[in-house]
């Protein structure tokens, strides 16, 4: 499909115009989507430029100013080692987003390939795949991720793999269902008559039609993956201290809530919540953008 439009410059310029116009339309049409995209831009900004802009080194300790409440010097206060909580929260954005985006991308790709193949060809392939996915889903997913990390060791890559594995079944199931209802659709048959092999029909004609519901799943999963990574760190199976990461910061800060130093846990927790909230709101907007039927 891509090569077809790319070959004609006229088509391309027309398509570009309408795509941009379409995104603008979707954003204007729904203020919630607008808000979600604004917040996404903010988090992406933090991830790219945050480390360069923050006022303090997130790892630098200062015993003299430990456990200070929020002030003009330290907007979010300082922790028990005198590190600036604001700097740590902002710097952690990059790591948390990387983990969630990488994990979701991985599970999206693997889940799509498996699910599309199962949905299109059916038969024993479908049966085998479904039972494998059932097996994964039968585990408590968080426990499965803990097991993967405990076995492989807790590095950032392994957190990504563990998060990806527990997300694969959701994508595979969704794609399987979407592909399955379209495998005998008229346009799939017409594509075969036009000389496309089965794989081409699947990849270029049927699969793109499954994208709108996938986008909703992606955005929900991004938020969920952040929570998952933070959860793993919280119980000590994720990122290791002193690396700034929202989950660890909440875990470490939790010890101080009883003694009244609430800011250690609340601000990273708030950021985590906002990020998850953003991704959850993003879903409908993303779906509308990839759905050609919304172009009117």
């Amino acid at each position: 499909m891509a090569e077809m439009t790319a070959s004609s410059s006229q088509d391309r310029s027309q398509k570009g115009d309408t795509s941009l116009g379409h995104i603008a339309y979707v954003l204007r049409d729904n203020p919630v989507t607008m808000l979600a995209f604004g917040m996404l831009a903010f988090f992406l900004g933090c991830a790219f430029f945050g480390p360069a802009l923050v006022p303090y080194d997130p790892l630098a300790t200062n015993a003299a100013r430990a456990l200070e409440p929020p002030s003009w010097d330290h907007w979010f206060g300082t922790d028990n080692l005198g590190r600036d909580v604001f700097s740590r929260v902002i710097v952690a954005t990059r790591l948390d987003l990387t983990i969630s985006v990488a994990a979701v991308a991985l599970s999206f790709v693997i889940g799509s390939v498996l699910g599309a193949a199962a949905g299109y060809w059916g038969g024993w392939l479908d049966a085998v795949l479904n039972r494998c996915l059932d097996t994964i889903m039968a585990f408590p997913l968080f426990v499965l991720a803990m097991g993967v990390l405990a076995a492989l060791g807790n590095t950032v890559e392994n957190i990504i793999y563990a998060t990806a594995i527990i997300n694969i079944p959701f994508y595979a199931r969704l794609v399987r269902a979407e592909v399955n209802i379209r495998r005998n659709a008229g346009f799939a048959q017409a594509a075969k008559l036009a000389g496309n092999s089965d794989i081409r029909v699947l990849a270029f004609h049927i699969f793109p039609n499954a994208l709108p519901p996938m986008m909703v799943q992606v955005s929900l999963n991004l938020g969920w993956a952040i929570l998952n990574a933070a959860g793993l760190s919280f119980i000590g199976l994720g990122v290791r201290p002193p690396t700034p990461e929202w989950g660890i910061m909440v875990a470490e800060g939790a010890n101080f809530i009883v003694s009244g130093e609430w800011w250690l846990a609340v601000f990273p927790g708030l950021w985590l919540m906002l990020a998850v909230f953003t991704f959850n709101l993003l879903g409908d907007g993303l779906r509308d953008i990839v759905d050609p039927r919304k172009r009117t």
Partner: protein, 542 residues
């Protein structure tokens, strides 16, 4: 009994307000059947939804009065309307399967209505529901009471829907395209049933349909709607013999019927001479003992039981049959989307059934056999523009690209009468007729020798159907293609085809030149099909 005065309905949409009905007035007397005829978008269904007060969200009755038996339906409270719907005024919908709850036994669904309107008590509801099923001539009603909708055929489902609609003896029945999607013999059975029941109960009926022939057969009076207005009103005979409004004339002309020629379907001012197509003696396609058997849960299903026929170069063959006759399976095997269980398909003397369907895309004959699908909407990828849909076979098979391909797409669009600016649109932005043209342009892009047309006009309005059929006739003469025209509509086959095959239960029961088969049917099934097709009164020579 029902009186509508100056009814106007508007819908709020993204692009502002749309007037669906713009001030129509009509009356339905006791025991009278009124046909409302119009093409899609004419507002005929909206009118009936408005009087039942079941308009979709965004729809609003702007003006007018609707009085039914002395009750002002527009002013009635929602609570009163709930009592009126089903008991006084009932409705049957287009798709009977969708109108039934798929997970409830049909008998219970009838029982629900009876109890809701206090026509039965819990004790005698079952008995009354069975009686209602018997009234719509369901065989073995007591056993069918426990059936789920998916266990019943389309015609049987529609009977159940009718039984639900009539369970409370309403005074007015609204039938909204009650037979669309049903086989022609089933259509006749259902319509005869509804007509008989209405007559026996002295019930009034509004029959909403796009089929002027059907309306003329069953309605006492017909109103023709266009763009939310009534353009003409009269008895079927006067409408057909002496249509006054130009739109009615166009509709009457476009309705296929005995004695019409393909060009006479078009409005008089754009008629040209019908081109002649040349039929050669050389057989292009020779199908021998084609068999298709599917493994089924209760033993093998014999979809096609050994059919043999020939299509000569340049010839158009009609393949007629009802659903389940094996006509679609046969055409899919010929177009090589399915593998036959046994048999040969000789195309230009070469057995193309020897190459499995999964590898047929590289076969040199791939470009010579193409197909136009039944549902134009379903056959276009919702994510591809019209231009890329038409270009697809050229880039995959002919290897055309760049400016050459773009020019060819433009040329094809010209050929099928699709305006150039529409090429950059997505399918959902095109009308049904435009989508049909895109499908045809895609199929003829590689100049195939054999084009299989699977009910290409089934989903189209009659005036669009007339144009598409004429386009097919022009293309046939111009490109020398052979057609295999699969259809259930004998009136259309009669216009387009040189020879005809009639299939029933996987076998060919009748075949021969169209005039012979249609004029003097030998097989009783062929005769039943011909009798079931609604025949509008003949117009005076237009």
């Amino acid at each position: 009994m029902l009186s509508i005065k100056d009814l106007a309905v508007t819908f709020k949409t993204r692009k502002g307000e749309v007037d669906a009905v713009r001030g129509i007035s009509l009356d339905v007397g006791k025991g009278e059947t009124l046909g409302i005829v119009g093409e899609s978008g004419s507002g005929k269904s909206v009118t009936s939804y408005a009087l039942m007060r079941i308009l979709d969200a965004g729809g609003e009755i702007r003006a007018g009065d609707v009085t039914f038996g002395g009750i002002d339906l527009r002013a009635a409270s929602e609570r009163d309307m709930r009592d009126i719907r089903g008991r006084e005024v009932s409705m049957i919908f287009q798709n009977p399967r969708a109108a039934l709850n798929p997970i409830r036994r049909v008998g219970h669904q009838i029982k629900d209505v009876l109890i809701r309107h206090a026509q039965a008590t819990r004790q005698n509801a079952k008995q009354k529901a069975i009686a209602a099923l018997e009234a719509v001539r369901v065989n073995d009603a007591a056993a069918r009471y426990d059936a789920y909708p998916f266990e019943l055929s389309g015609g049987m489902c529609q009977r159940v829907v009718i039984a639900i609609a009539l369970a409370c003896n309403p005074q007015l029945l609204i039938a909204d395209e009650p037979t669309t999607g049903l086989d022609i013999t089933t259509q006749k059975a259902v319509m005869d049933l509804v007509g008989d029941l209405a007559a026996a109960r002295g019930m009034s009926m509004i029959l909403i349909t796009h089929d002027l022939g059907l309306a003329s057969q069953y309605a006492d009076r017909i109103v023709v709607m266009k763009d939310g207005r009534i353009v003409e009103d009269g008895t079927p005979e006067t409408l057909f013999t002496d249509p006054q409004h130009p739109y009615t004339q166009k509709l009457v002309n476009a309705t296929p019927r005995i004695g019409a020629s393909i060009r006479s379907l078009l409005p008089a001012e754009i008629r040209t001479a019908e081109p002649v197509h040349k039929v050669h003696d050389r057989p292009l396609l020779d199908v021998r003992d084609l068999v298709k058997t599917y493994p089924g849960k209760s033993g093998p299903v014999h979809a096609v039981k050994g059919v043999s026929f020939q299509i000569k170069a340049g010839q158009s063959l009609g393949l007629v049959g009802e659903s389940g006759s094996g006509k679609s399976t046969t055409s899919e095997m010929i177009v090589r989307l399915q593998d036959p269980t046994s048999g040969h398909i000789l195309f230009d003397g070469q057995d193309i059934a020897a190459t499995p369907a999964a590898r047929f895309m590289r076969h040199p004959v791939r470009r010579d056999i193409q197909m136009v699908f039944q549902d134009a909407t379903d056959s276009l990828n919702p994510r591809d523009t019209a231009a890329s849909a038409i270009a697809e076979p050229m880039s995959r098979i002919a290897g055309l690209s760049g400016a050459k391909r773009r020019d060819r797409v433009a040329e094809l669009a010209e050929l099928v009468g699709l305006p150039q600016p529409l090429l950059s649109r997505f399918p959902h932005q095109l009308s049904g007729g435009q989508k049909a043209r895109v499908g045809i342009a895609r199929a003829i892009a590689l100049e195939p020798k054999l084009l299989i047309l699977d009910e290409p006009t089934a989903a189209l309005d009659v005036s669009i159907q007339a144009i598409v059929l004429n386009l097919l006739v022009d293309l046939r003469a111009r490109m020398g293609m052979s057609y295999l025209f699969v259809s259930h509509d004998l009136n259309v086959v009669r216009l387009l085809c040189d020879e005809v095959l009639v299939m029933k239960e996987g076998e060919i029961v009748d075949q021969g030149p169209t005039a012979d088969v249609m004029g003097a049917p030998k097989h009783p099934y062929t005769r039943a099909l011909i009798d079931a097709a609604p025949q509008p009164p003949r117009p005076v020579a237009a």
